[in-house]
């Protein structure tokens, strides 16, 4: 299998189904535009069967740059953050097709996405890797990898990029 940048001319977004309508619809309808507008970079995992006019998508994830701001920080707190708001890499979506779930691809793709976040972080400053979990099950998945849910939004989970950089296998 190959992980490549999403190309709507080559990749069959219409047949992708992960069991969560919102994630399927986004790939079919909005991924192309979002990528063209440079709002996200979308990566697809594909299995090239050679015969089909378009390559079937096994899984995908989308990355953006983001920033995190805490309401009403004191001056003392701001002194702890030389760059404020705090820049972050955001994993906006990660989905595996129903036919390929249960094979460890979610973890493999999270690893790939994290590596890409760290690579971007070599050139662009960021302190956090943030994920949007689509539901509680997805949030549990990310928690299993050490991400911490925010108290105000348990479907948004955070981890320090420096922690990942220092320890990722």
């Amino acid at each position: 299998m190959k992980l490549v940048r999403f190309d709507h001319r080559k990749h069959d977004a219409r047949s992708f189904s992960c069991g969560v309508a919102e994630l399927d619809t986004w790939l079919r309808r909005y991924a192309k535009r979002s990528q063209m507008d440079s709002l996200t970079r979308v990566f697809v995992l594909v299995e090239d069967d050679g015969a089909a006019p378009k390559v079937r998508i096994v899984a995908y994830f989308a990355l953006s740059m983001s920033s995190v701001e805490v309401d009403s920080l004191s001056d003392a707190d701001k002194a702890r953050l030389p760059r404020y708001p705090v820049p972050a890499v955001l994993l906006t979506r990660l989905a595996v097709s129903t036919a390929h779930q249960g094979q460890g691809l979610g973890g493999a793709l999270l690893y790939k996405a994290t590596k890409k976040a760290l690579l971007a972080n070599d050139a662009v400053a960021a302190r956090l890797f943030v994920v949007h979990a689509i539901n509680e099950g997805a949030a549990r998945f990310y928690k299993g990898y050490g991400f911490t849910p925010s108290p105000g939004d348990p479907l948004r989970l955070y981890i320090a990029l420096e922690r990942l950089r220092a320890q990722l296998p």
Partner: protein, 85 residues
């Protein structure tokens, strides 16, 4: 190009036309300019995360956390090695 139709009160239409004329653009250009600006702001806001002041201690803990990563990253790394790219 595709057509988008809007239904608005006559009084609003007059106000929009008047302001468009003052700005030296057509009504269509004026409305599209406003919509595009709103779209840009909304898209930027979608990726900007704001935390409540009550989350500040939690936030600093996450930034400073250097505890060992869970073992499942090892399995994820092994699985990812089978993927090209």
């Amino acid at each position: 190009m595709s057509r988008v139709q809007l239904r608005v009160q006559e009084s609003l239409r007059e106000r929009l036309e008047e302001q468009a004329a003052r700005s030296g653009v057509t009504l269509t250009e004026y409305v599209i300019g406003a919509i595009t600006e709103r779209l840009r702001r909304d898209q930027e806001a979608a990726n900007r995360i704001e935390l409540a002041a009550s989350d500040r201690n939690w936030f600093f803990d996450v930034l400073d956390d250097r505890s060992p990563l869970p073992d499942r990253w090892e399995r994820a790394a092994t699985a990812s090695a089978k993927i090209d790219g």
